[in-house]
Symmetry: C2
Subunit: 636 residues, 2 copies
Amino acid sequence: MGFEYLTNVPLEQARNEYLQKLQGEGFGMQYETVPVQESFGRITARAVYARINAPHYAASAMDGVALRAKDSFGATETTPVMLRPDQFTVVDTGDPIPGSCDAVIMVEDIVQNDDGSITIHAAAAPWQHIRQIGEDICAGEMILTSFTEITPAAIGAMLAGGVMEVEVIRRPVVGIIPTGDEIIPPCANPRPGDILEFNSSIFSAMVKDWGGEPITYPIVPDHFDAIRDMVVRAAEECDMVILNAGSSAGRDDYSTAAIREIGEVLYHGIAIKPGKPAILGLRGSTPILGVPGYPVSGIIVIEELLQPLIDAWYGRESTKGSRTRARLTRQVVSGLKYQEYVRLRMGYVGNSLMASPLPRGSGIVSSFMKADGMLEVPQGTEGFASGEEVRVRLLKDRGQLKNTLVVIGSHDPLLDELTDLIHREDRRIFLSSAHVGSMGGIMAVRRGEAHAAGIHLLDTETGEYNLKYIRKYFPHGGVYLVRCVGRQQGLMLQHGNPLGIGRFSDIAGKGVRYVNRQKGSGTRILADYLCQKEGVDPGQVYGYEREEVTHNSVAVQIASGSADAGMGIYSAAKLYGLDFLPVCVEEYDLLIPETVWNTGLIKQLIRTLKSEAFRARIEAMGGYTLDRPGEIIDVF
Amino acid sequence: MGFEYLTNVPLEQARNEYLQKLQGEGFGMQYETVPVQESFGRITARAVYARINAPHYAASAMDGVALRAKDSFGATETTPVMLRPDQFTVVDTGDPIPGSCDAVIMVEDIVQNDDGSITIHAAAAPWQHIRQIGEDICAGEMILTSFTEITPAAIGAMLAGGVMEVEVIRRPVVGIIPTGDEIIPPCANPRPGDILEFNSSIFSAMVKDWGGEPITYPIVPDHFDAIRDMVVRAAEECDMVILNAGSSAGRDDYSTAAIREIGEVLYHGIAIKPGKPAILGLRGSTPILGVPGYPVSGIIVIEELLQPLIDAWYGRESTKGSRTRARLTRQVVSGLKYQEYVRLRMGYVGNSLMASPLPRGSGIVSSFMKADGMLEVPQGTEGFASGEEVRVRLLKDRGQLKNTLVVIGSHDPLLDELTDLIHREDRRIFLSSAHVGSMGGIMAVRRGEAHAAGIHLLDTETGEYNLKYIRKYFPHGGVYLVRCVGRQQGLMLQHGNPLGIGRFSDIAGKGVRYVNRQKGSGTRILADYLCQKEGVDPGQVYGYEREEVTHNSVAVQIASGSADAGMGIYSAAKLYGLDFLPVCVEEYDLLIPETVWNTGLIKQLIRTLKSEAFRARIEAMGGYTLDRPGEIIDVF
């Protein structure tokens, strides 16, 4: 194959040229006829006209008798009129009016006589109490305009108008081809080296969401002929094709060559990050989009290049979330060479919309799931400073963001449980947490970027937690410190403790591989303090510079055998079946600015902290002590 | 059966008592487990935790070699280090890292030697270029909280975390039972008396829209046992049941009795209009809702009583469109006894949101389709005055309303064609027309309630159209008059003209049944003028007081045989195959206020008037002349 250099064409240019080229080949909207009963939510292809009148016959609007209005003329209370049985017809609501009649008198206004005749005491106006033919819809009238979404009432109107089938825009069929030798269908027990093929499930749902019809083809191994043949088949069966993985210029890349052989490649390489190695290919009027294997890259390529094709198919404006301004809580550094996509957690604190960048790794599908917004750093820009106001694309609605508790600070799995409990108790309230360590939490509260911060900062002189730090960083007060939990910190060790680690200083022992937390986290500060106290030189601890950002990820490294020891909380050790050497019980509290104290969000947070449900979940996790959670600690 | 008096309980009270009673019986959310791949859009029943780490093995993040970092320590440009083949493993991106290795060096940074060894010129930091186990998701971590909508990325995260199935809120199954002897499935050629059963299609789509799963049962005739047995079956198979029609207290009403026999009726009769005869029944914890047969009544009962049940099932806040304030263009009169629902056409004219009441007949399904908003006139209120600001519920989004051309005035079918053409040319633009006659249009423009009005007002002294009226009602100018079409007015007559009508004055002839247009319409003014001119006494014309509001509905009455003659335009006569006696060609122009003249909406309207597509459609309709449509007429 040989190495192929990628182009670095700007996204906008590539997208426009791609669409123009495809439209030149005949790409675009197609139609199909569907039964009206199955047309809910579809888009009309052309105007729909009624075939029959609705109602289609003159119908009685009341229970009563139908008659010729003329025959009733002159009837009053004092000069009643009698009608012979052949002069009227008994009708119920909805019954057809006999051809000779042109009025209905309600049953309440009639006196029935023994001889079958009736007496009336008021004249009937012609056409009273009659639903006229076409009162609702006249035959030949336009019921629906072109390119209109079919609502429940529109279904009723079409059926009432005698329209049984309707021509709608056909949903474009999008074929998804997963490729790769190591790729296997998702399962719960993969072996090392197996790569779970979940991209096609993500892409399918996206395609459905945009009004397309996804088809996922079987996984194709990394063989040129197999890939080429599958692309040909998909291009024949579908309106658009996604060829997943193999689009980087690496060893096993057959995608570009395959598309070239059976069609054409407009560009291979777009100036976006992640997503650069996208392939913009086509066969006739069928787009064949080569999409990188990493899920985040793939999602971005699909959003930026496939969604516009589906929008063009439907002939509609692109609808990619509304844009707004938000304040960055951390700096975002970007290369000049690409347009870069940064996913954001967002929330309103007071009246300010805050945006915290999420991890950017292109394999990190969970960051996409958590994203409330997207920051696009334009090509040629170096990024943005912390605190800067930036323009972002919202992925959630504003109402939801206004009801989101923003918690920034130290990580603890109890935050997830809190998130779940709060949302279960009040479906309108959400909690969004970002893990930047205790010091990061204090700074976020100081800058007004968070509703709350989880902190556990040891004063090494007094052994007290949190108080000294708060007095230092909030000399003028303005914050509350709220009790959360006491938690057991210690060394997490391999199951059975094979290296016989018996005290903290053993982490410097020969053959011990340590895994650390990131700087600024309370747990790191604790580890640094213990090193100093026990006379351990961090430079002598193998792996002391290896940083993970949560208790769980430290535990996972030990559980998987790539490290022997790490500082963390008991609940994480328990979750992964690790041995645990207790070191201390620390106070994990919540720091809350006064400015948000009286909001409904904080009130719900405090209620949940005090609830039995919270106690039950925390006790099930193990390693925590609960002493009046939700109460205010006297700081100042 | 006997006549049953209906209760008149306020809606809010009935709804709350109904829900409480049902919940007391056990009504509420149920769960089901679905494959994650099929879970898009579903709502989680409880928190979802990862089963495995993602990635589940330490993987190379680059193409290169894996090694022990220690073996590379000391390597620099000047002091390269050589590694034997047993000291490294060649790896591609995604390959697992051998257990003994803890770093990767990129292929670009390696020199390959002939003996199979490699030389490196920089030390590797431990864990560089390695995707750590659990970098994305750690086993045991919470992936999704309870009661959360499953997005495409969430599907990816669950599959990556080894979760193959997810427990979600089961969609409630809603059984729909149509009843009635005259009811037949929708068809294009019903006989008089046949009532097309399209309610179940409307209700099905509504139920789907709210997240339910509709089942429509076969039509049940008006027999007590048959209805009762079907209700029992549906109550066993479904979570909620809609029993359609037969819920008024009329002759063939078995619904209430049937529900009473197999369950319980909480209320029969709610203080809403339309929709009063609703039945709030239940069997155990299964609601059985009796819904009136008229589509509009049925839709309102379903919206007010079924949707809250589905919301309660999902445990979510009711989401019934946002509310806003709008100005009424016509008065709305309401009875004190009921809460009344009035559907509205809406649009922004300048910065004011205007609301025009649509026809209120409960059989008028087309008014529901056209509705942009809903006005709820509270029980105990007599209605609202024209021009009054009222609180309305929006059924369309505000962006669409801001892009809607509001045309109020004389009816002509060409307005529908114009609506279609404009939306085809620019998908963002909509046109909404209300038919209130030429004089109504002039008044609407004067009050700033419309972007344009279609008018054709004859000055009986000069034979000129429109000019005198505009000078009278806009003495200070401020409006443009724009050419639209010349149109042929005349008498529409039965096919073959069986009564031999030869001139206008024949409408007063013996046995001739006339059908008129409403007062204030240009066509009515023309007819009144012709009566005066030809010496016809309107009191002598049978049916002169019978009013229809469009040309088409006049034509329909003649075509269906219930009238012999009516004044109208040629295109309507042609559409229904009627004979036509030409009377005059009139000018149908568009009146547009200066204040909106420079908007994009009006510019598109003018462009469309001048387009070839407009000409083609108008010519196909017949009876029109086109003389520079879209040009401004000199008025002042």
